[in-house]
Subunit: 136 residues, 6 copies
């Protein structure tokens, strides 16, 4: 029977919400303070969930130390202390909402984790605003 | 593919657990201290989850500022700093357990949110006792 | 040299803020929603701090199990699942603000704890509103 | 319609990760610091989730006081302030990873809870490493 | 006798640590990732502490609703969803470390709060890095 | 004027409370479950507080990255995933209560931090039991 394992990591980043094909007025109306031209920022909390059958000998679905190292190598190094709009190429053409950041992170990690294991990410932009992909 | 977004809000309310068709002894046996005739109270934490596809341009499933305003208008204004048994008509005939409060909140919010979006509510009565509707 | 030890406990209570010598208008102006005649409520979190020298043999300032039992016997039993205004005689003549509740708790516990030990209480009415007595 | 209810409890235990059929080198390679021969320990947080239809009269899926007492009787008494490897027979032949502890707890509680109610457990080994069984 | 009251608020901001009179190398050596030219950001948590004697009638040291409104008017409006280096004049000539932000906030609030009341601020840059001014 | 800066770290350890000069009965009476011969364990949370004047140029009291590295080198490496009674020589002759662990940590760190800076440590054994040294 399958067990889900979770690892929580953190990164701190600047961003702004902005649709480049829109006018300044449209952007301000849609995104309000989040559209500030000089950016604002967040302490993002990332929870990565992996589902599979525990190994009969070790009792691990995946070694959480290994999962933590994968997240640090592929996500934290790329996102932490960065400006998501300017420093992370994935957001050159898409708006760095929490929803889009979660999908980008999932796509990166999906390539690094055994295909027999299911993957889900939860991303907290603040303690009160958070997202999950894929939704369940 | 679908993303879930979450918004956390708070309200503080008094309540008592009580079945009016029961004797005092039956109520005390079933609900113990929670049946105190003069009420007790809680800091309720409400998490509203909405599932849908992010808009291709904005990257939003639903603007969490809009969701927060809906919750404040339809739930917080009605429940916060109130006595659930005496001040909230929804509990005139049903017992304000966490389960029933969550169902009442879901029914109110379901009418306010686009039918293409799935809705779920989680309600914390205390940090250690909480409920989710619909269950998943 | 002195060490401080802390024990965290919880109680859930109803209350209203109300000055009986004032008119309804004065009370509403001063206390707003907190003056609701039918009460509202909170999950109060209480942190009791005791300062002293650790015993040279046991290494305890005070056994935190003993401190927890004292708090449960003298505070939790009296305040939990109660209406502070109606059920707790200490608030017959004083307004149950967080400040006053903290002072009442301190006065009760001060009599139960060795005079050689310093005592302080912190009381959370919500996660965002809390008080400390005596102030430091 | 079904509601999920949750109860959070705690226990503090020592353990080590170790496969008795492996050499010391294999164990150190697989489990690192977690293989320390003298054990280490954790404050485990256990969340038990029960899904069912609320009773039409009481509004309870299950009385959370009853659920809490079941957890204390069958789990906390057996695991709290214990050495999982030495004091808990369930781990004589299986490695006390978070995955395996969660499955053991689920198997114990499953026998104590009405068959019409679904059961799930979440176990936090640390704030950043946690598991869920069965996975969803 | 004096009671301390506390109010917790939040703001989200971008910043970079940078000393303009230093070379790029000196800045990178001193501040590492925090010196990123395109900024990064945080969810700052601000706790404002006010010490005084509770009013004998109301039981308030200061109405925490009033304190919250003061913080929102003078601090949150100025700092939230801003770039501290570019949008907040107070940091034109001083480096926006947590220490300096806390002192700037204290100086702003000190002018708005009754001189008979003591004032202290605690600022969390992350859950693991925080500062307090004045120190006690 | 002085600012306090804080850094939070974690370690997971096994221990038992035991006075070797006492009989088994005396130990059981004094320490109850905490005296279990096979040990139990905790996720300890350590908060290190350093007070000083921020540097006029950098704005730092002490670089929290430097403080974090000091804590990791001198405390975490020595305590994490260890048995405090068996693996840490400091507790060969003293009982590893939270009070004594905090004093031991303070004594180790005091030698590593500039004498012009004040030092204090807070140690959480559980979320509900914690200690501070020196007391304030």
């Amino acid at each position: 029977m399958k067990v889900a394992v979770y690892r929580k990591e953190h990164f701190n980043a600047a961003h702004r919400l902005h649709v480049s094909s829109w006018s300044q007025e449209e952007n301000e109306k849609a995104f309000g303070l989040c559209n500030n031209a000089n950016f604002h920022g967040h302490n993002y909390t990332l929870i990565v969930k992996v589902i599979g059958e525990p190994d009969k000998v070790t009792g691990y679905v995946i070694d959480l130390k290994v999962l933590s190292d994968l997240i640090k190598k592929h996500i934290i190094k790329k996102f932490d202390h960065k400006n998501l709009n300017l420093d992370v190429p994935d957001f050159k053409t898409i708006n760095p909402t929490a929803e889009n950041i979660a999908v980008v992170i999932w796509n990166i990690l999906r390539k690094e984790i055994d295909k027999n294991l299911e993957l889900k990410v939860t991303l907290y932009e603040t303690e009160r605003n958070f997202v999950e992909f894929p939704a369940s």
